[in-house]
């Protein structure tokens, strides 16, 4: 097969069928923008959930009678638990200082003694800040000698877990919907463009062109359309986030992460969409009788 011919034919849409070329590229761009903005929103929401989870830590209060040796032992045992990232000791004096900061009064002067126990603040590793795993760690810490009581924001974690699951399912549903409509939309636009050329396809078959010979330029054209649509969509997203960053005068990229490889994914998805769209469409018409 002649590469020159295929390349020439593949790019001929720019010259011969400007309107349908534009329609296909525009459809790919619109679909990708929709998909990308949705994905960015999803990641954004997910980072809010994650930052809420970051706030969850446990506090294990210690027996007042604990000795220095037992303290070190208890600490070592907590640190040894799976899922524990960091253990920080809060002495009775520090607890009183925190109390004073929170309530504005010195507990020693109110009660004449300090009832606040010393404690370990326990930070959990990523992936362990779920209600199920936190409950497991809670039970393990509670069983350790020297630990009197342990608190953490159980309800908050349960709420996050529940909502996050629901949120994920809804998002997944919307994502699938957008993805399917994009494929249908792109395939349909390309199909209309190819439909307009079905007489030409039949004539080519009549002259003795093989299916591959007819198909390849169409696939190349679909790929180019998708690639272009992807490049435009990536360009628009890049520009929009640049502008937003400027206007909001804050580091948007910290909050909504648009990683450089994202742009590659957008362009790649566009190319695949275009290729798939033309593959599906050409299949339909290439099998038709040439005498229609």
């Amino acid at each position: 097969m002649q590469i020159r011919y295929i390349l020439k034919e593949g790019f001929s849409g720019f010259d011969r069928a400007k309107l349908s070329m534009f329609a296909s590229v525009f459809t790919v761009t619109a679909s990708l923008l929709l998909l990308s903005l949705f994905s960015i929103l999803l990641i954004n929401a997910n980072s809010v959930v994650e930052s809420l989870r970051q706030k969850v830590e446990m506090e294990a209060f210690l027996d007042d009678q604990i000795t220095a040796g037992q303290l070190a032992d208890t600490r070592a045992r907590i640190e040894g638990l799976e899922g524990v990232r960091e253990v920080r000791y809060v002495s009775k004096e520090e607890a009183a200082a925190i109390f004073k900061e929170e309530f504005g009064e010195d507990i020693n002067t109110v009660l004449n003694f300090n009832p606040l126990p010393a404690s370990f603040k326990i930070a959990l590793k990523d992936g362990y800040r779920t209600s199920v795993k936190a409950a497991m760690i809670y039970n393990e810490v509670k069983a350790i000698k020297g630990v009197d009581d342990i608190i953490y924001r159980k309800q908050l974690l349960e709420m996050i877990d529940h909502r996050a699951m629901m949120f994920l399912w809804v998002a997944f549903g919307i994502g699938v919907f957008i993805m399917l409509s994009s494929i249908v939309l792109v395939a349909n636009t390309i199909r209309l463009a190819i439909y307009a050329k079905r007489k030409i396809i039949q004539t080519m078959k009549l002259i003795g062109a093989t299916r591959g010979f007819i198909r390849t330029p169409f696939l190349l054209e679909g790929f180019i359309q998708g690639l272009l649509g992807g490049l435009i969509a990536a360009g628009i997203i890049f520009a929009v986030f640049r502008l937003l960053e400027g206007w909001l005068s804050m580091q948007l990229s910290d909050f909504v992460r648009v990683q450089p490889w994202w742009y590659a994914v957008i362009v790649g998805t566009g190319s695949v969409l275009g290729l798939l769209g033309s593959m599906i469409s050409i299949r339909r018409f290439i099998g038709e009788s040439v005498a229609n």
Partner: protein, 229 residues
């Protein structure tokens, strides 16, 4: 070179061709006549294998309907030229590219393509319109481009399905002159028509389709008698 043996074709339980037997030798010219709907186009489709017979066997240019594969059909079509009433030009490209397309598919080199296309255009008297788009040409000119394209791969047979159906008498005569010239050079021609005026003016073998049967009307008239069966 063309042989149909006891070929039958039906559409929606309606038998269009019923046990048709027919043969054509190299270099022969035959008119296929019959009323609209008599099955002329179906017979043509059998020949370029867009339609497969229910019964019987079609042999053309070394291929057989029983054994031909989908992959071989394009190769068969390169060995036969097809001309239609509605021209079937590739509307999105120039006259030159229309003819060149038939050579692209056979992987001809660029320099050969140029030489052959310019030669073919000269043959049908359209060298000066090589860069025109099909819609800029008259009906007669379009049909000449189609003929040039059909002949560029030097087919053994040219199938012409009502080639003058959409043309005025002057253009029709031009097309007939070209077809006769081609036939003189040794290309066999099957021409479906119901223009009896033309058949009278350019006498050749005539077969008629009637009620699904093929009848030999005139075996060896006129100047092409030498190549009749």
């Amino acid at each position: 070179m063309i042989e149909l043996r006891n070929v039958s074709v039906s559409f929606d339980d309606q038998r269009v061709l019923d046990g048709v037997t027919f043969s054509l030798k190299r270099g022969e010219f035959v008119y296929l006549v019959g009323q609209t709907g008599a099955g002329k186009s179906s017979l043509m489709r059998l020949l370029y294998m867009d339609l497969m017979p229910e019964n019987g066997d079609v042999r053309i240019a070394g291929y057989e309907s029983r054994s031909i594969t989908n992959r071989q059909i394009p190769h068969l079509r390169r060995r036969i030229g097809v001309v239609f009433q509605d021209f079937r030009l590739l509307e999105d490209r120039s006259v030159y590219d229309n003819i060149a397309f038939a050579l692209y598919v056979t992987n001809t080199s660029r320099s050969d393509i140029k030489k052959k296309v310019l030669h073919a255009l000269a043959d049908v008297g359209l060298s000066h319109k090589r860069n025109h788009m099909p819609h800029e040409l008259s009906g007669g000119e379009q049909q000449r481009v189609v003929i040039a394209r059909a002949l560029i791969n030097e087919p053994v047979v040219l199938l012409a399905d009502e080639p003058t159906g959409n043309l005025d008498p002057t253009s029709s005569a031009e097309i007939m002159d070209i077809l006769t010239k081609i036939n003189m050079r040794g290309t066999a021609i099957v021409m479906a028509t119901h223009n009896y005026e033309l058949v009278k003016r350019y006498p050749a073998r005539i077969v008629q389709l009637k009620d699904g049967k093929l009848i030999e009307v005139d075996k060896a008239p006129g100047r092409v008698a030498r190549s009749s069966p």
